[in-house]
Amino acid sequence: MTILIVEDEDKTADYLRKGLQEAGYPVQVASTGHEGRQLIAQERYELVVLDVMLPGVDGWELLRLLRRTSGIPVMFLTARDAIEDRVKGLELGADDYLVKPFSYAEFLARVRTLLRRGSVRESERLQVADLELDLLRRRVTRAGERIELTNKEFALLHLLLGREGEVLSRTTIASQVWQMNFDSDTNVVDVAIRRLRAKIDDPHPVKLIHTVRGVGYVLEARA
């Protein structure tokens, strides 16, 4: 499950590598397009994270080369978010893109999605510890007790449960639950989480929804 990062900016490459390693993925870093090309020719990777602006062979070129020989998932990173750039990347066969500055949680979530793409089927019943969510019957129970949730609370919990253990950024949550695809600087997400907590966690000694300060929220059973 090795991930290749092709990124010329040292700090970026460094924190991406550290982050992915902490998340349990083996990582290799190439700091130029040439190096990236060589590594791709020699090794097998599960995912390539590609910066578009590279010295020597640029990201587009590398993407073209990659697509000629293999179907490895590619995520490209760019500081230019003009629509033409995104379209170009996707047309060349990139699987996803992120515009700098991006949230780290967002990055990790996307990497996970790309790596498990096609392999995971949406489960109809989700469970973490004693919290259960039945998608078909739209029922949520904790320790066997039924919990009444509003539609959006249900959607929010579904998102958190489905990504158990993943830190979700506020942006991701706003976009997935409310289709708000822009950064609004209101604390709507915090409020929604607070209300969900009141129903899910407050009556119970073991808390499941956790705040990751400065990043977002995660649902997991912590020892």
Partner: protein, 464 residues
């Protein structure tokens, strides 16, 4: 028009020359024609006169022999190499022939006593006058003629002179026209010189009206208008850059200050964590600002594409109310959505505009009051309004509310603030839609109104 010279003066001169040539040509043709007619008429008069004199001579003379001997007959012909005189008898025999030899007597229709005139085309061309007279020996035909060669030669020379005069006139007209055009277009060059003198540092200068010409007023006004727009745009840009730098300074200052302060001595892990979280907030603020700035920069390029789709306002309003519901309840406020109808607009942008207005209302509305989202059609256009009951905004702030980074209270600068770009984005979105945004504030609260032009496709729901 591509064959025309690129210089306006040359074009004018050329037109002037062409016009003059046409006019001169017409005059020359008229003069030439008059002269030719005059000469022909005089010649004819002379021929007729000669016939008359011949007739008188014949009347006076006993016979042709006597006539032939009369010196006067020849007198008026002597030295005249292109005059002819024939006297024929009834049998057609030439009895007297005066003039250049070798010219055959042409066949002529008999004349009935009056003088007939005719031009004989041939070599040489002749103009003849003839008549029949009764004489002692019976009827005689008198023919007076004139060779046309000389007249043709004269007229030919005259034509040549006219042609030369015409050509010279056209050339002179061109030169004169050029001189006039160059002189006449001097105000245009002056205007250009003055306009060229206005550079970036002197955008406040205007082209003066003194001594300007009526024809150039439109151009000058257009240039001045352009200068005014440039100046305003430039001023805005300069102010904007300044604001941007200033706005970025605050989070940067926080970042630098608290990081340096934290690093000045060893701290607990918790302290470092707090610092990082605080830094993260500032970073997010910067990132949001950059996002908003880019959004504004893009929407202000008219090239930015608008994806218009039918947007059901009630549904969109409900979505937004649902989104802000929790926040509203925390502030003890209620969100009411009475917007109805389906509007052709860019859904994402409209959502963003309304979200900004709702967030704004939630921020400034009085706790315990409702916020209303409504729609209406007025004379100005299709309106979507967000109304809150909060303290009135000072009248002096209203015209500036939609400017970037404008704050009613310069000292207020909370971390949760929209960075002063929220309303600017709303206005930008509305301008993209060809509409506008308006704000009213008073004792009845504050109302932000998005106005779409009446031409926007809007369907009122039949169900409501």
């Amino acid at each position: 028009m591509t064959r025309w010279p690129r210089s306006l003066s040359q074009r004018l001169a050329l037109m002037f020359a062409l016009g003059s040539a046409v006019l001169l040509g017409a005059i020359c043709m008229y003069l030439y024609d008059s002269l030719a007619r005059e000469i022909a008429w005089r010649d004819d008069q002379a021929l007729a006169g000669r016939i008359e004199r011949m007739r008188a001579l014949i009347d006076e003379s006993a016979d042709l022999e006597a006539l032939r001997r009369r010196p006067r007959l020849y007198d008026n012909m002597l030295g005249n190499r292109d005059s002819l005189l024939w006297i024929l008898d009834d049998a057609g025999q030439v009895r007297i022939a005066v003039g250049p030899s070798g010219i055959a007597v042409p066949q002529l229709l008999p004349s009935d006593g009056r003088i007939a005139l005719r031009t004989i085309e041939g070599t040489p061309a002749l103009r003849l006058a003839w008549t029949r007279v009764a004489a002692a020996e019976g009827h005689l035909t008198l023919i007076a003629g004139r060779l046309l060669a000389e007249r043709e030669q004269m007229l030919g020379a005259y034509r040549l002179r006219l042609g030369l005069a015409l050509a010279a006139g056209a050339v002179l007209a061109y030169l004169l026209g050029l001189a006039i055009a160059v002189r006449g277009l001097r105000p245009v060059r002056d205007l250009a010189t003055r306009a060229a003198a206005i550079d970036v540092r002197h955008l406040s200068q205007r082209l003066d009206t003194a001594g300007s010409l009526r024809e150039l007023d439109a151009l000058r006004d257009a240039l001045n208008g352009m200068l005014a727009r440039l100046e305003a745009g430039f001023a805005q840009l300069a102010r904007f850059s300044e604001d941007l730098a200033h706005e970025m300074r605050t989070p940067l200052n926080n970042l630098m200050g608290q990081t340096q302060q934290a690093l000045s001595r060893a701290r607990t892990a918790e302290d470092y964590q707090n610092l990082l979280v605080s830094n993260q907030e500032e970073y997010e603020r910067l990132a949001r600002m950059i996002d908003s700035m880019l959004f504004l920069a893009r929407t202000e390029q008219t090239a930015a594409a608008l994806v218009r789709v039918p947007v059901a306002l009630q549904e969109l309003g409900d979505q937004l109310c649902e989104y802000f519901e929790g926040l509203a309840e925390e502030r003890d406020m209620r969100l009411l959505n009475t917007a109805r109808g389906t509007l052709a607009a860019d859904r994402e942008l409209l959502r963003r505009a309304l979200a900004n207005l709702l967030a704004n209302s939630l921020r400034y509305g009085e706790p315990g009051t409702p916020i209303t989202l409504s729609s209406a059609v007025s004379a100005q256009g299709i309106e979507i309004a967000v109304h809150n009951l909060g303290p009135a905004i000072g009248a002096e702030h209203l015209p500036h509310l939609f400017e970037r980074f404008y704050r009613c209270d310069p000292s207020r600068q909370g971390a949760g603030e929209s960075g002063g770009l929220g309303l600017a984005i709303v206005r930008s979105i509305m301008q993209l839609h060809g509409g506008d945004v308006r704000v009213e504030s008073g004792a009845e609260g504050t109302r932000f109104v998005l106005i779409f032009p009446l031409s926007t496709k809007f369907v009122v729901d039949s169900s409501s």
